[in-house]
């Protein structure tokens, strides 16, 4: 065939591919740059030490911050992690180590489906199961919803990490006379640990950015609790979190609150990026 035309087409496609890549990367990098530049100029000490209060506070130039959202995010996300990690790793172990178990095909399909389910439905579920019966929005309901966001990601990552462990390690353990559970906990788990940690971190990063389920469960709160160092104050009452607060600030009509929204954005972004990079770094180091 016409060689020249084939080469021309090859060139053309390369140019198109590079162009497509630029089309993808440029706007997203612009967003990152925008959030960073707008956010940094809105950050100051008050942002971390004061709570938000009523809109008039910002309008009259008094000191406001998002201390209540930062503390609430910390408490709610950590509680969610504490609940999701054992269950997720357990379910992942079940999938990877007991492949013959009759529950597994159903578990795998449902786990993947739950992973793809919109987060807002997880919020609706907790609203019906926890918020409505208990009669109050609470931080704990929020962490339950976030836990459900994390759970399938952790289970999937655990299954993947355990499957990568060579079968010979299990055989070595069994040959030493270890029962199956000891083989899993003492021989397989340590080998798979970096993969597990990465999975947990990615799940955390994903859940830390979710606002929709929190709007229906922990609702939001402009003020720090009376005793800001007591985690129960956040878990038992309506509590603030960064993503949900960012949403409320962005849709509010106040200029000062928009600036605080950018600041919340950069904090949230940094949180997600740091957690994510640590996770990636762990996987890289171990391959």
């Amino acid at each position: 065939m016409n060689l020249k035309r084939r080469y021309m087409r090859d060139r053309l496609m390369l140019i198109l591919i590079v162009l497509a890549s630029l089309v993808v990367l440029t706007p997203l990098l612009i967003v990152l740059w925008y959030v960073a530049s707008q956010g940094i100029s809105a950050l100051n000490i008050d942002f971390f030490t004061k709570d938000l209060g009523s809109p008039t506070r910002a309008q009259f130039g008094q000191a406001t911050g998002l201390a209540q959202a930062i503390a609430g995010t910390f408490v709610i996300d950590m509680t969610a992690l504490l609940m999701a990690v054992p269950v997720g790793i357990g379910a992942g172990m079940m999938l990877a180590e007991y492949k013959e178990h009759p529950l597994n095909p159903l578990l795998r399909v449902l786990n993947d489906t739950m992973n793809g389910m919109p987060a807002i439905l997880k919020g609706l579920l907790i609203f019906t199961l926890v918020v409505r019966p208990s009669g109050t929005f609470s931080g704990f309901a929020g962490s339950l919803a976030l836990g459900i966001v994390m759970l399938p990601i952790i289970a999937r990552a655990t299954e993947g990490a355990l499957t990568l462990v060579p079968w010979s390690i299990r055989e070595a353990g069994l040959a030493l006379g270890l029962p199956r559970w000891r083989v899993i906990l003492a021989a397989v788990l340590p080998v798979a640990r970096p993969g597990l940690v990465t999975g947990v971190l990615i799940a955390f990063a994903r859940a830390a950015g979710e606002a929709a389920p929190l709007l229906l469960t922990s609702l939001g709160n402009n003020f720090l609790p009376r005793n800001p160092w007591n985690p129960l104050e956040y878990l038992t009452k309506a509590a603030d979190t960064l993503p949900q607060r960012l949403y409320s600030l962005a849709v509010s009509p106040y200029q000062q609150w928009h600036a605080m929204g950018w600041a919340a954005g950069i904090i949230l972004l940094l949180l997600v990026i740091v957690v994510f990079l640590v996770g990636r770094w762990l996987t890289r180091r171990n391959h």
């Binding site: 993808v24 990098l29 967003v31 807002i120 609706l124 199961l129 030493l176 949403y247 928009h258």
Partner: protein, 335 residues
């Protein structure tokens, strides 16, 4: 497997390593049973969450479904909390239109970037691009949302929507109807941000699918004298087709359920989305916007019913992706 374990334990009894003391026959058996029981409980809780979700949403959705009918509620075009008339079609349509358009906009660029990092780029560039893509996929949607609401929407309104609208108003007044009110918050803005949101996700999944193509496949095409593009088109892409398609469907599923960015940008109107620039709503955005203000029981259960339909749609999309993965990915057919 279990029998092999027991035999191994019999040997272990003579061994004096302290670590192995738990491996006497009964200890191992009880331990194994207890361990598996715990794992089964954890596994069952994942199953239970999925079942509970279907059940609670279905239960709460019964009232509007009984009143308006299963398809009547789905296709009802009026959503009017004041007169107690609820139909989900404006939101279903808003969700489908924005998600399909976002996927259509983002698919080819995403595929281009995936091909670049998996096939063309040298290793070090590919590593950097992979990092960036994975990082972009992790950007919380509210962060994209605040950029959209404070930067993108006003910019588009002043530089794109309004000039087009004004031009149409003077030159083709009959066309103004479907352009819609150029406030900046509407279908097009929401679609653009949605496309930005899912593009790293599509890219990552397509890239992984392309990486899975065995190198023999490429070498065979190279050996026949194919150019680089021909290798891609004839050997690599057909092989990765299933993975890429499944990835696109998963991205579509993600776009369907995306709540915050859409809620911030779509304008939130409960009318049918028949205009390009005008406000609309999607299923997740109407839930999050009206949920906390729904005082009327029927209004609340209608929002729950929208959640129920969203659940069904997501379920179908996710199972579809799994099915494509199983059917179209070579070497995966037996799984």
């Amino acid at each position: 497997m279990a029998r092999a374990g027991n035999k191994a334990q019999a040997t272990a009894r003579t061994c004096k390593e302290p670590d192995l003391r738990l491996t006497t026959r009964t200890g191992g058996r009880i331990g194994d049973k207890a361990f598996l029981t715990i794992l089964t409980i954890f596994g069952l809780s994942v199953v239970a969450i999925a079942v509970l979700m279907a059940w609670t949403l279905g239960r709460d959705a019964t009232e509007p479904i009984q009143r308006f009918g299963f398809f009547g509620f789905l296709t009802g075009t009026r959503w009017d909390p004041v007169s107690g008339n609820f139909g989900a079609w404006p939101f279903v349509l808003g969700t489908l239109v924005t998600s399909v358009a976002a996927l259509a906009l983002s698919f080819l660029p995403a595929l281009g970037l995936a091909i670049l990092s998996a096939e063309y780029a040298p290793k070090w560039i590919a590593t950097i691009v992979d990092y960036i893509v994975d990082l972009l996929a992790a950007i919380p949607s509210v962060v994209l949302g605040i950029w959209g609401i404070l930067v993108l929407a006003p910019t588009l309104r002043d530089n794109v929507y309004r000039p087009i609208y004004e031009w149409a108003a003077t030159n083709a007044p009959s066309q103004v109807g479907w352009l819609g009110n150029p406030t900046g918050y509407g279908l097009v803005t929401a679609t653009l941000v949605l496309a930005l949101m899912i593009v790293p996700y599509t890219t990552a999944l397509a890239r992984d699918a392309i990486r899975l193509v065995p190198s023999e496949q490429r070498e065979a095409a190279w050996g026949l004298g194919a150019t680089r593009w021909e290798v891609l088109r004839m050997a690599v892409l057909p092989y990765a087709r299933g993975g890429i398609a499944a990835g696109a469907v998963l991205s579509f599923g993600r776009a369907l359920g995306e709540t915050m960015a859409v809620a911030m940008l779509i304008g939130n109107s409960s009318r049918l989305p028949l205009t390009l620039f005008g406000p609309a709503s999607s299923m997740p955005s109407v839930i999050v916007n009206e949920f906390r203000e729904a005082v009327d029981a029927l209004h609340l259960s209608s929002l729950m019913a929208i959640g129920f339909y969203l659940f069904i749609i997501s379920l179908v999309v996710n199972l579809g992706a799994a099915w494509i993965q199983r059917r179209l990915v070579p070497g995966n057919a037996g799984l």
